[in-house]
């Protein structure tokens, strides 16, 4: 059974990592905490669910990727418009206004989702069923969960490579480390910020898209991932990609083992661990 718990921990961590990564990229490059990040997750989920259902329930594997891509892209597009309209207005303002604007965006987007997709639940379990199960160390385990971990692994690898090796990625990193210096170096902060926001939003959408074959797309589906992403960021440290990874693993495993042992203690246990980490290291594990 421990094998299953461990694998579940990795699965939760994977989804959480994608979401937190998106949050952290935006936070690091733009210094903005997007309270509507969970809504972008939800948009990805609904889009993917709708795609899967529309394409018919007998979904060949490649169409699975289409649904994931659709979630990623739509979330990215919404993020784009959000950045252009709201976030631009926020640059000159203080933190309070930034949080309030993203809060307003959250309220708006949650109802926008309701307007577009209605209030019902979208069940899109076809990919999950189709991929079937596999035997690992005597336990039967759904392949879909392994698929999610694989997608996240490659996504994480891609981002790591992107941030570290490509010109664009290094520019983003430069801005997150020292914004003023970056301006001095002639980087187009505006364009790069938009890109960061779109990327971060897309990642949230991707995470949402990945989850729908296992959970129906419902109104408010983005709320819990948002809170957990916050905890990951707090524990892992603001703006740190390594922190997002470690934090996600920590939260994922706490979740998995917590639920297995005693469902009620899962969240308080999480907070207890987070609290201890914060008392010892107030900036988070890898924070600045």
């Amino acid at each position: 059974m421990w094998v299953v718990y461990t694998l579940n921990g990795l699965y939760f961590a994977a989804l959480l990592f994608l979401t937190s990564l998106g949050l952290n990229i935006i936070l690091g490059v733009m210094g903005i905490l997007n309270l509507a990040h969970g809504s972008l997750y939800a948009i990805g989920a609904f889009m993917a669910a709708w795609t899967i259902i529309s394409l018919g329930m007998k979904v060949p594997t490649f169409l699975l990727f289409v649904s994931l891509l659709s979630g990623f892209i739509l979330a990215g597009i919404v993020g784009f418009f959000m950045e252009k309209s709201l976030i631009r207005a926020m640059y000159k303002r203080t933190l309070e206004y930034q949080l309030l604007l993203t809060f307003g965006a959250l309220l708006l987007l949650e109802d926008a989702i309701k307007m577009v997709w209605g209030g019902q639940a979208y069940y899109a379990s076809a990919p999950f069923d189709l991929l079937g199960k596999v035997e690992i160390f005597g336990n039967v385990y759904p392949i879909y969960f392994l698929f999610v971990m694989a997608v996240t692994f490659f996504a994480g690898l891609f981002i790591w490579f992107f941030m570290g090796r490509t010109k664009l990625g290094i520019m983003l990193k430069a801005i997150s480390l020292d914004r003023e210096m970056a301006t001095g170096l002639g980087l187009d902060i505006g364009r790069l910020s938009t890109f960061a926001f779109v990327l971060g939003s897309g990642l949230a959408g991707l995470a949402g898209a990945l989850v729908v074959p296992t959970t129906p797309a419902l109104l408010g589906i983005g709320m819990e991932p948002l809170i957990l992403a916050f905890i990951v960021v707090v524990v892992g440290g603001l703006g740190s990609l390594k922190g997002a990874l470690v934090g996600a693993l920590l939260v994922g495993f706490t979740r998995s083992f917590g639920i297995a042992i005693l469902p009620e203690i899962e969240l308080p246990l999480l907070f207890l661990i987070a609290g201890i980490i914060l008392v010892v290291k107030p900036e988070g594990l890898f924070g600045r």
């Binding site: 303002r93 604007l101 965006a105 949650e110 809170i227 960021v233």
Partner: protein, 324 residues
């Protein structure tokens, strides 16, 4: 104090408010009472935001603590279910929780502070939700009519209770809250908080222990919010876990901004307006969150100083001065 025109205005408004029960229908009176409880919440919240410069998206936690103090006493200690015990109890428990959470939060600034405050309130939410044997879970707890100084209201219907004795009790607490908060913000302590808000480095340099005073502000604001929550629970008759949800906390922030966090009276104005705004939106469309969200965005972009702030600027422009 008597010479100050501001207090004359307050006095007149207070006298006017004494007659409200005669002017409004019971339904509207209840709405107004919701507004008054949120006004107390807003005053407390703004001590932290407007005067100390800290934005918490987690103050719903203290509202819930106050409200659930009432609910829990009703369920488990009915002998103690009287206002003179409930109000101090709500203040006490809000103090304790604000002390613990505040201690954790004030070690950080800006974004980290906001995230942490938010997360802690969700912890309370999760506890209230999951421990349903104790807290009623998603159903919440009932809030029957309390006794007041020995007088029982058993058998009376809530609207009647609310339009009679309770209104005056609430109004009195509201007035006291205003006076106390006014005293706090204009005192040396209040000035120290404002110094922290304006320039924490300099504040530390003139000898103010910034962390400690932020904690004091946090605790006091938590107590006011908890008081508001307790008083609100009697109007609502029912308390649920989502009072501690961060979206509800967001509404508290919203109404403070709506009124204007740069002015003392701002949160009061904002609370009253928001109560009606939300109700109006909910009554007219199923997409009320969209309306509220859009209004918030427009508000932040066009009226960053809030409604009261905009009026104040207007007055200032017209020559008459209104100082904080």
């Amino acid at each position: 104090m008597v010479k100050n025109p501001r207090w004359v205005a307050y006095g007149l408004i207070f006298i006017f408010l004494l007659f409200i029960p005669r002017l409004l229908s019971i339904h509207n009176l209840m709405l107004f009472e919701y507004g008054l409880t949120f006004a107390i919440v807003g005053l407390g919240f703004n001590l932290l935001l407007g005067y100390t410069g800290l934005l918490s998206f987690g103050h719903g936690a203290y509202f819930a603590v106050g409200a659930y103090t009432v609910g829990m006493v009703a369920k488990y200690l009915p002998e103690a279910y009287s206002l003179e015990i409930l109000v101090p109890a709500a203040l006490f428990f809000s103090l304790i929780i604000a002390l613990i959470f505040g201690f954790l939060c004030v070690r950080h600034t800006k974004i980290f502070f906001s995230i942490l405050a938010l997360s802690l309130s969700m912890l309370i939410f999760a506890l209230l939700f999951k421990l349903y044997h104790i807290t009623g879970g998603s159903d919440g707890l009932r809030v029957p009519l309390p006794t007041m100084f020995g007088i029982s209201f058993k058998g009376m219907r809530r609207p009647l209770f609310l339009s009679g004795t309770y209104y005056y009790f609430l109004l009195m607490i509201f007035a006291i809250s205003c006076v106390v908060m006014r005293g706090i913000v204009s005192s040396p302590f209040g000035k120290a908080l404002q110094a922290i808000r304006d320039n924490e480095v300099r504040a530390e340099l003139i000898g103010i222990r910034v962390r400690r005073y932020r904690l004091y502000a946090f605790i006091i604001s938590g107590m006011f919010v908890g008081l508001g929550g307790a008083l609100w629970s009697f109007v609502n008759g029912h308390v649920t876990a989502d009072l501690s949800h961060w979206v509800f906390s967001g509404e508290i922030v919203y109404m403070t901004l709506l009124g204007g966090f740069g002015i003392f009276e701002g949160p009061i104005v904002g609370a009253i307006i928001f109560t009606y705004l939300k109700l109006y939106a909910m009554g007219n469309t199923q997409y009320w969150m969209f309306v509220i969200g859009a209004t918030l965005i427009v508000l932040v972009l066009l009226l960053p100083n809030g409604v009261a702030g905009a009026f104040a600027s207007l007055f200032a422009k017209m020559g008459r001065k209104k100082s904080v």
